[in-house]
Every structure is written in C-alpha cells, then in structure tokens.
Amino acid sequence: MISRAAKEHIFAAATRAALGLSVCILAFLLGAIIVRGAQAISLDFLFMPSRDFGSRGGISYQIFGSLLIVLTAGLIAAPLALGASVYRSEYIKNTAAQRLFDLALYGLNGVPSIIFGLFGLILFVNIFGTGLSWFVGAVILAIMMLPTACMATISAMRGIDTPYRENAYALGLTREQTALRIIIPQSLHGLVTGLLIGLARAIGETAPIMFIATAFSGAGVPSSLAEPVATLPTHILALAQQAADPAALQNAWGASFTLIALVAMFSLAAFFARARLLPLSQR
C-alpha cells in the first residue's frame, strides 16, 4: 500500500518532471537556433536578396514572400472566420447542428498540412490552371487558419452574456443588428487573437505552399497574383539540402532564427491584442 501522501508526492514529482523536460527541450531548441542563427544575422543578411541558391547573400525576398502570403491569408480568413462564427454562435439554435458545425471545425483543424498542399495543387494549379501562385498559397493558408480563428471567435462570443442579446432584441434590434453592434465588437479580441495565432502557425508551414506558391530560387517581388514567391520555410528546406556547404548551413540557421523571431512577434502581438481588445466588462 502506498500512502496518500506518497501518492501525492509521486504525482507532483511526475508533473514537475514533465514540465521540466518540455522546458528543457524548448530551451535546447531555441538556444541552438539563437546561438547559431544570431551569428548569421546581419543587416545585409536581412535586407539583401539571396545568391547562389541561398548559400550567399541574404533572405530579403524570403521574408517579404512569407509575410505577403500569411498576411494575405489573414485578410482572407478574417471575414470568413467572422461570418462563420457569427452564424454558429447567433443563428444555429439546434444543438445537433451546432455539434455538426464544431465537428467540421475540429475535422478541418486535424487535416495534415500536406493534404492542403495536395488539395491546392489539384484544384488550383491543375484544374483551374493557375500555375504557381502566391495568392493560391494564401488562399490555402487562409483555409488552414480558419478553424483556429473560428474557435477563438466562437469562444469569445460564447462568453457574451445572454442578457446583452436579450436587451438588444428588446429594443427592437434584429438578429443582424445585434450581431453587428453587440456580438462582433465584443468578440473582436477572440478573432484577432485567433488570427494571429493562426498566422504564427501558418508562417512556418512548408507543406501546403511548396507545390503551389513558392519558387526555390529566382523569385522576387511578384507583379501579379499568379506568380510564385520565395518563403522562409521553403528556403530553409532548400538550404538544409545543401548542408554539406558550411555557408549554406550558416544561412539556414540565420533563416530559421528569422522565422522563429517572426513567429514570436505574431504570438506577442496576439497576447497584446487580446489585452487591448478584451471588453472592459471581461477584463
């Protein structure tokens, strides 16, 4: 028989060990990238285009391409997420239908990113004949971000007390007016946080965009929607394949560092956006 106190000790020790291990792994990963990557970072590296398939020069077009794709994806995802969330939260009253909707969201969230890449390749590049296009990449990333953004928005909408809705209805507001004037303003923090978390995830994705939206070399600033761009994750992939060349490896670390810094920026932005946009009543 193990005493109750001993059981508690074991449980506490196990949770502590789990936490310690995760922190260690994270610290090791970040430490390696920061130490190695920081050496590669310079103003030239950040603001010069790459040469020799990335082993020389910088990553300016990759940074530009990554930001262009994910920010466009965010702009596409925002209205879709808002619309879907309002519909789920304010219009669907049937519990079975609500469950079905949630199930669809979870399902979409669980689709491996390579499948999205394949879907984009077949639907847009092959059937619609768009060719390699950064915009198609943005559309695919927007679809990938949708569940995260929707879930955060819906949960913010669930947090709005029913009396707000009832008081608005009692003043003769329609469901649309109530959604526009009460529900959306009071759940913006959820939408923005969800989108930024989605952006932070999307900017690191390689699989969904590498067949449809990116070029490994030679891509600059696109002059139309139907041109590829260079992006950080695909650039890292290409550099990793030339790892035998120390200069390429050095640049791969530098690009990884930059990518992680961008992810961290989006995550921080999500944190501050939440704090700023949270309605007074919920702070």
Binding site: K93, T95, D161, P163, Y164, R165, E166, N167, A168, Y169, A170, L171, G172, L173, T174, Q177, R181, I182, P185, Q186, P279, L280, S281
Partner: protein, 266 residues
C-alpha cells in the same frame, strides 16, 4: 368556414385593452411553467403582477414581447393579443413588436458604450439630427429620473454608472423608443430606496398614457403604484382585478393571505 377562421385571429377583447391573454400557457420541454392564463392588460394604468418566486411572472413578461423565442424547448399554448393582433401569429413582425413593447429586465444590462449611445441604442436605424438626438436623450433621461445624475457626462461609458443608475438608464433606453406598452420585471430590485421611489413615480406617470405591466415582490410598493393587480401562483392566474378591490376584499382566501403579506401556501 372563413368567418370563424378570421375571428380566431382577432381578439374579442374590448377596446380599452392593450394586451389580452386567452388560455395562455408556456412550456419548457415537458415542464409546464404557465397554463390557462386569461387576463387583460388595460390601455391605461399600472398593472402589478405579484406572486411568489417561481410563479412564472418573468416567464409571462418575457413571453409577451417574445424575448424567450430563442430558448431551447419553448412552446406556447393558447393566444396572446397585442392591440388585436396575435403576438404568436406566423406573420407577426417580431422586431416591430419588440420595439413597441418596451421591456426593462430584473438585472440592469447596459451596453459597453457611452451613456448617450445607450439611450439611442434602439434608434440606430433612424435618421436623426444632432439636436434631435440630444432632445431624445434628455427627454428619456429626465423620464427615467437620471438626467440630473448624468447630464454632465453623457459621453462617459455607461458601465461606470452605479447599479441603480444603470437600471434607470435601461428604463431611459426603453422610453427613448416611445413604447406603446412597458413591461418591467422588478425594476426596483437592484435600486436604492430613493431611486426606487423615483421609479415608482415614473411608473405612475407613464401609466397615465400607456399601459405599464410591472412585477414586484414588494407589496407596499404594489399598493402604492397599482391600478390593477394580477396574482400569479404556480403558473396559474389565481385572481385579477382593480387594486382597491384586490387589496381590501379579494374573492379568494389565497389572494387575501398573499396580498396581506402573510405566509402563502400556494
């Protein structure tokens, strides 16, 4: 028989009645909250709805302007008429109905906007000049006895007001729409005694022009403001009548005990 079909849609209530209920009932799932309610709300005066907790007073009020429509499992029995039109008819314009039947809830709930914006909230679709807006805000706030408290800070956020002030703001918000009926669910429950008296006076005032249906647990207050009394118990309308009659010689012993502030075994 088109004749009788037509008759069904129009209440047989006399002209001095604003809202009439015929065999009205409310169910949530398979629990019956209200049943067989037959009552009239006169076109003028304050009607006080009294009854023990859980009697179904709020349920009745919320059914009259169809605020409960979205609640899971709600079903309505019998008929309710507002100025002769059936409230639960398929072609009833619920939004218009709600705008005409003002409602003040038990707990104040102001929107996270300025005080002035709260007052104008129900009028957002209406084109109004700045001066008109100001007039409406002032009139509504005066009507709700809040003007003196807040006239210097109309632009401040409404959630900075005290509970009692918020409740009066909710009343002002309803008044700004110039409703044809005002339903009030324990409007003085979260308000200090002085504000409560102001709201009572306001109800008396309003009662001269429109019907006011209010719920209260405070029998002394009921005596002060009531022109008519409805006594509800366990989802049934026990007795209804003029205030004077109900408070002095109600027909049923149950009503007498309740209205005399004694323990009620209903």
């Amino acid at each position: 028989m088109p004749q009788s079909q037509h008759l069904k849609l129009v209440s047989s209530a006399p002209h001095h009645v604003a809202i009439s209920l015929e065999n009205f009932g409310v169910w949530f799932g398979d629990s019956c909250i209200l049943s067989g309610v037959n009552a009239h709300l006169p076109k003028r005066g304050v009607t006080v709805l009294v009854g023990p907790s859980g009697a179904g007073k709020s349920t009745l009020l919320r059914a009259l302007n169809r605020i409960s429509d979205d609640m899971a499992g709600l079903s309505i029995q019998g008929r309710a008429y507002f100025e002769g039109c059936e409230i639960y008819a398929k072609d009833c314009d619920v939004t218009k109905l709600r705008a005409r039947i003002g409602m003040v809830f038990q707990k104040p709930c102001v929107f996270p906007r300025s005080i002035a914006q709260n007052v104008l909230f129900g009028l957002r679709g209406v084109k109004l000049s700045q001066a008109q807006k100001h007039d409406i805000v002032e009139q509504a706030l005066r009507g709700a006895a809040l003007w003196n408290d807040v006239h210097a800070r109309l632009g401040e956020r409404a959630d900075t007001l005290s509970m009692g002030q918020q409740q009066r703001l909710c009343i002002a918000r309803a008044l700004a729409l110039k409703p044809d009926v005002l339903l009030m669910d324990e409007p003085t429950a979260s308000v200090d005694p002085v504000s409560a008296r102001t709201i009572e006076a306001l109800m008396r005032d309003l009662g001269r022009t429109i019907p006011v249906l209010t719920v209260t647990h405070n029998l002394a207050q009921a005596k002060r403001i009531a022109d008519h009394v409805l006594f509800l118990c366990e989802g049934q309308l026990v007795e209804a009548g003029d205030a004077a009659h109900m408070f002095s010689n109600a027909a049923l012993p149950k009503t007498q005990t309740y209205l005399c502030d004694e323990f009620c075994e209903c």
